[in-house]
Symmetry: C2
DNA sequence: CGCGGCTTTGATGTTCATCAAGTAAAGTGG
DNA sequence: CCACTTTACTTGATGAACATCAAAGCCGCG
């Protein structure tokens, strides 16, 4: 029920296109806390909010980087398309995250693609404005880099965490990730397919399914399609910790 | 012969401790190109240069982050110590690189350790000074973040490159990495042990040796201890490209 | 209502880590 | 400086972990 209501609200946003002003939205994120009312006004005037339905592409490898992308609502995957049409998911951005690593400073073109994995609202802020404020507002510069450094470092840490573990540890990781980090609940709807889970934690789709079934048989989780309930979080954490 | 000479020079540096001033050193790095003579003077006054012999530890996980570390000379590995005394190497910094990812903005403590893998000179600049210049010199802020963003993004890209390849592709990667990126020569001395190669590209020591032997038998490389000559770079690149 | 993509399970084969065992090289202390 | 110890290197054999292949049921969508 609640889900339906949110959906409707989001649709309205899509039509109006300028839902929130930055004081009530971006202001909440600590990266922007030290911008003056004046500066927020400038951002607010030139920002564009876009609604993306689940599955819709937001940006693609090779595209010019023109905006800083800030995720207001929803979930977005950051991934790389390999030669053989395979995809490799790097990370999943949640609300209040910025989307797309540091490429915005080191590249002129996106090196990864982004797609909404849940209905999402992305706020595009002209990159030149951000750069201008970095130049003119030193405190903002520090705040901003703290924020994006955290995201970037956590991508690196996650990659290591995943690659040093074997399959059971990886699945435990992904379950704990969605439960703790994304949904703050032991009960949630997996927003991505088994295949995408595989692409995210470097394993085959079949083995994702196999390990999930195994966990179900062991009464670690309850699972029906995308619907997941974590039954024994302590044991799951142990599996993650042991690799 | 030349090697001996450099060695001696480096030893002298160690004794004097303040070899170069920042105008002639850091100035060369484009991250610092927009600092005024005044600002460079401040950095110069408070910087500390330290010499590290091959194998010496520079910083350790858990240490307070007090300085921005800039590698003037040598090679440094950035790694994480796992529970079971195993090490996991994230990246290798070469001269002109900064050492240690973005943690300097997102953490107060180092999350990785660093050790010299060749005799190295590291320049420590008080972190507060860097932060102050980021606040007061907008152009420097942008330059600086361009630089560290590049390093950080390349760590992420490398991790993906390695983890999506199998053993032969990984060894090809590491050989091309040292040849092209570090030494700019098809003939070089591997600065790390087989074990460290294994820790860098996620494989067992035995298999590092096995694949290297295989490459030698296939006339791809010539190898005597740490001494490596790449004989067929085209074929090596193909092995890397195919995974 | 039929087609393609997602999901699931079992069987098979490959890739790779681990174990074992021996040689070479590099420190270390008397 | 030499005997001794430790660490690095190397090869082969074995088994575990995992991907791939195959086949069938399921679900959503045009």
């Amino acid at each position: 029920m609640i889900y339906i209501i949110i959906q409707t609200k989001v649709k309205k946003m899509e039509l109006s296109r300028k839902v929130s002003n930055c004081k009530s939205c971006i202001y909440r994120s600590w990266a922007f806390k030290n911008l003056s009312a004046e500066e927020l006004k400038i951002i607010n005037a030139k920002k564009v909010e876009k609604f993306y339905r689940k599955g819709e592409n937001i940006s693609t490898e090779g595209d010019e980087i023109l905006s800083f992308m800030y995720l207001q609502n929803g979930l977005v995957k950051l991934y790389k398309t390999e030669i053989n049409t395979k995809e490799h998911i790097l990370s999943i951005a949640k609300p209040q995250d910025f989307i797309g690593l540091l490429s915005i400073f080191s590249n002129t073109k996106h090196i990864y693609s982004t797609t909404a994995i849940e209905d999402s609202i992305v706020c595009f802020v002209d990159l030149e404005i951000i750069k201008k404020f970095i130049k003119t507002n030193g405190t903002f510069a520090i705040d901003f880099f703290e924020k994006i450094s955290t995201v970037s470092d956590s991508v690196i840490k996650t990659r290591i965490d995943i690659n040093t573990r074997q399959l059971r540890g990886r699945i435990a990781y992904i379950l704990l990730f969605f439960s703790k980090h994304i949904y703050s609940s032991i009960r949630f709807n997996l927003p991505i397919s088994r295949k995408e889970v595989a692409e995210l934690i470097d394993m085959s789709t079949e083995n994702v399914i196999r390990v999930l079934s195994e966990f179900r048989k062991d009464n670690l989780i309850q699972i029906e399609g995308k619907n997941i309930v974590i039954l024994d979080i302590k044991r799951l954490e142990k599996i993650y910790a042991l690799g």
